[in-house]
C-alpha cells in the first residue's frame, strides 16, 4: 500500500476525501456566509449563497447584546487555571507513580484508573453543592475547580515518565540532589512534549465544556463562551444572521489558534489516545 497508488486510484481517493472535506467544512462556511447576510437574504428560497454586502452590522449588534469581552476573559481564566494546575499536579503525581517506590502508590494509581472510567455526570451535583457551600457560584474560580486535578493527565504523563531512563535519578542522587530537585530540574523538562499534549487537550476540553459552566455560573458576567452563546438563542430566536455572527465570534479564537498550531494540536490529541 506504500507503493505509489496508480493514477486511477489516486483520483478515486481524492474524490472521496474531497466529498468528506466538503461535508466537514460546509457548516463553517455557511456560518460565516449567513453571518454577513440581511435577514431577508438569509430567508430566500432557493437560498442565496453570498450576501450582497457583508453586513458587519450583525457583528456589532451581537457584540453589543452580549458581554463577549467578559466571556473571552472568563474562558481564558478557566483554561489557564485548569491547564496550569492540572498539568503541574498531574506531572508531580505521574512522576511519583512512574519513578518512586513508596507504600500506597498502587492504591493511588488504582484510584486514578477508577476515576478515568467513571462518567463525569456522577460528580457534578456534589461538585455543584461543594462550590455552592464555598460561596463560589458565579465566580471565575468556579469554572476552574472541577478541572484542578486530572486523573487522565496523571495516567497520560505516567506513560511519558516511564519511557525516561532511571539512571539519571541515580546519578543525581550521588551528586546529592533531593528527589524534588531531580523531578523539577531533570525529569520535568524532559517530559515537555507530554506536558504540551496534555495542556492542549485540557484547554480544548475546558473550552468545549458546557454543562458545568451552565450550572455553576448563571449570571451572564461570569459565563464562559460556550455557555454564554447559548443565551443568544433566547435573544435572537430566529434572527439567524445574528446568531451566526455570535457563533463566529465564539469559535474564532480557538479556530485561529488551531490553524496556527495545527501540528501541535493534531499530534497532541493523537498522543492522548491509543496506547
Amino acid at each position: 500500500m506504500f507503493k505509489e497508488p496508480t493514477n486511477k486510484s489516486k483520483v478515486f481517493i481524492h474524490i472521496t476525501l474531497i466529498i468528506g472535506a466538503i461535508a466537514m467544512i460546509t457548516p463553517f462556511i455557511w456560518m460565516i456566509l449567513t453571518s454577513g447576510k440581511t435577514q431577508a437574504e438569509s430567508t430566500m428560497i432557493p437560498p442565496q449563497i453570498f450576501p450582497e454586502n457583508f453586513q458587519w452590522e450583525n457583528y456589532k449588534n451581537v457584540w453589543g447584546a452580549l458581554p463577549f469581552i467578559k466571556f473571552y476573559w472568563n474562558t481564558g481564566v478557566m483554561i489557564a487555571g485548569r491547564v496550569l494546575f492540572s498539568t503541574l499536579f498531574s506531572a508531580m503525581a505521574a512522576f511519583a507513580v512512574a519513578k518512586l517506590e513508596f507504600p500506597g502508590k498502587n492504591i493511588f494509581f488504582m484510584l486514578v484508573l477508577t476515576q478515568m472510567m467513571i462518567p463525569a455526570q456522577i460528580f457534578i451535583t456534589p461538585q455543584y453543592l461543594l462550590v455552592q457551600n464555598m460561596g463560589l457560584l458565579n465566580t471565575t474560580t468556579a469554572l476552574i475547580i472541577p478541572g484542578i486535578v486530572s486523573a487522565f493527565g496523571t495516567f497520560l504523563l505516567r506513560q511519558f515518565f516511564l519511557q525516561l531512563p532511571d539512571d539519571m535519578m541515580e546519578a543525581a542522587k550521588v551528586d546529592g540532589a533531593s528527589i524534588g530537585e531531580i523531578f523539577f530540574k531533570i525529569y520535568l523538562p524532559l517530559a515537555r512534549s507530554g506536558l504540551v499534549s496534555l495542556g492542549i487537550f485540557t484547554a480544548l476540553f475546558a473550552y468545549k465544556d458546557l454543562m458545568w459552566p451552565l450550572i455553576a455560573n448563571i449570571s451572564q458576567d461570569k459565563m464562559s463562551l460556550s455557555a454564554g452563546i447559548t443565551t443568544l438563542q433566547g435573544q435572537f430566536t430566529t434572527n439567524y444572521p445574528e446568531l451566526m455572527a455570535g457563533s463566529v465570534i465564539s469559535i474564532a479564537p480557538m479556530v485561529i489558534l488551531y490553524i496556527i498550531f495545527q501540528k501541535q494540536f493534531i499530534e497532541g490529541i493523537a498522543s492522548t489516545g491509543g496506547k
Partner: protein, 309 residues
C-alpha cells in the same frame, strides 16, 4: 563491632533514610492530585449514590426515601424514552462514525498530495464549541430556509423534512451531527495507529501479489484492531453521555424533544431545572451502570477480535 558489620549497619541506615525520603517525596508529589480526586471525584460518587436514595430539597435537607426514586424511574415513560434514545444514538452513531473514520484514516495514509490540508479540515469540527456547532446545524436543519432541505430539493427530492420537529426524524438529525462532530477525532487516533504498521509487511504482500483490498483485510485491519478497540470503547462511552447538541438544537418547548432527549439531558433537567436532585442522581446511577455493563462486555468481547502483538 567489626569494620565489616559497621559498614553494613551504615548501609542499612542509609537505605532506610533513602526509603524514608522516597516515601516523603512520593506522598508530597501525589498529595495535590490525591486530595483533589478525593474531594472532587471519589467522595462525590458516594454522595451521588446516597442522594439517589434520598429526596433532596432545594435547601439541601435530605430525607431517606430508599428505592422510591428508582421505582419512580421505572414507572416514568420519559425515562424509558431517554434510555431508548441514548441506546439508539450510541448504537447507530458509533459504528457509522468508526467506519467513516477508518475509511478516512486509510485514505489519508496513502502517498497522495494534500494530506495535511485534509487532516486540518477533518479535525476542524473538534475545535468548535458544541454550542456554536449545534446552532449552525439547527440553522441548516431549518425546514423552510435550511441549507439541507434546499440541497435535497435541488437533488430532486421533496425537501420538506422537519429535521427538528418531526418525532420520527429528530434522532437521525442528532445522529448526523454526532457523526460529523466525531469523525475527525477518531480519524486522527486511527491514523497514528496506521502509521505504526511496518512498511515491510506491505512490501512482502506486494511481492506475494496481494491486491490492495486483500492487503487491507489481511494486514491493515488486523493490525489496527487495538486502536479500533480503543476508539470504539471511548466513542460509546461519550455517545451515551450526549447532552450539548440536544440542549442547543432542541429548545425545551419542542414537542419532539422526548424523542431525542438522552439520559444525561434528563439528568440535567431533573437536577438543575426541576431541582429534584435525588431523582437526577438515580438517573445518573443507571447511566453509570449502563456504561459499565457495555464496557465490560466490550472488554470480554475484545479477546475474539483484537490483536495484541
Amino acid at each position: 563491632m567489626s569494620i565489616q558489620s559497621r559498614a553494613k549497619s551504615k548501609n542499612i541506615s542509609h537505605g532506610n533514610r533513602e526509603k524514608r525520603s522516597m516515601m516523603f517525596w512520593g506522598w508530597m508529589l501525589i498529595a495535590p492530585t490525591l486530595i483533589g480526586l478525593l474531594i472532587l471525584n471519589i467522595i462525590p460518587v458516594i454522595q451521588t449514590l446516597i442522594m439517589s436514595f434520598q429526596n433532596v430539597s432545594t435547601f439541601g435537607e435530605s430525607t431517606w426515601v430508599f428505592f422510591d426514586n428508582y421505582k419512580r424511574l421505572f414507572e416514568d415513560p420519559k425515562f424509558w424514552l431517554s434510555l431508548k434514545n441514548t441506546l439508539l444514538y450510541g448504537i447507530i452513531q458509533v459504528p457509522i462514525t468508526v467506519a467513516l473514520s477508518t475509511l478516512a484514516a486509510v485514505l489519508l495514509n496513502q502517498k497522495i498530495k494534500g494530506v495535511e490540508v485534509y487532516r486540518v479540515i477533518y479535525f476542524l469540527p473538534m475545535i468548535a464549541a458544541p454550542a456554536a456547532v449545534a446552532m449552525v446545524w439547527r440553522w441548516m436543519y431549518s425546514s423552510d430556509y435550511g441549507l439541507i432541505n434546499s440541497f435535497l430539493k435541488f437533488l430532486g427530492f421533496s425537501g420538506n423534512i422537519e429535521w427538528l420537529y418531526n418525532p420520527q426524524v429528530v434522532i437521525w438529525s442528532l445522529i448526523i451531527v454526532g457523526i460529523w462532530s466525531n469523525v475527525g477525532y477518531n480519524m486522527i487516533l486511527l491514523l497514528s495507529g496506521l502509521q505504526e504498521i511496518p512498511k515491510s509487511y506491505y512490501e512482502a504482500a506486494d511481492l506475494d501479489g496481494a491486491g490492495t483490498v486483500q492487503q487491507f483485510f489481511k494486514i491493515t485491519l488486523p493490525l489496527l484492531t487495538p486502536q479500533l478497540f480503543f476508539v470504539l470503547v471511548t466513542s460509546i462511552i461519550s455517545a451515551f453521555q450526549v447532552f450539548d447538541l440536544i440542549f442547543v438544537m432542541f429548545e425545551a418547548t419542542n414537542p419532539a424533544l422526548s424523542k431525542v432527549q438522552s439520559l444525561v439531558y434528563q439528568f440535567y433537567n431533573e437536577t438543575f431545572i426541576l431541582d429534584d436532585k435525588g431523582y437526577g442522581a438515580a438517573i445518573v446511577i443507571i447511566l453509570v451502570v449502563l456504561i459499565m455493563i457495555v464496557t465490560v462486555i466490550q472488554l470480554i468481547g475484545q479477546k475474539k477480535w483484537v490483536n495484541y502483538d
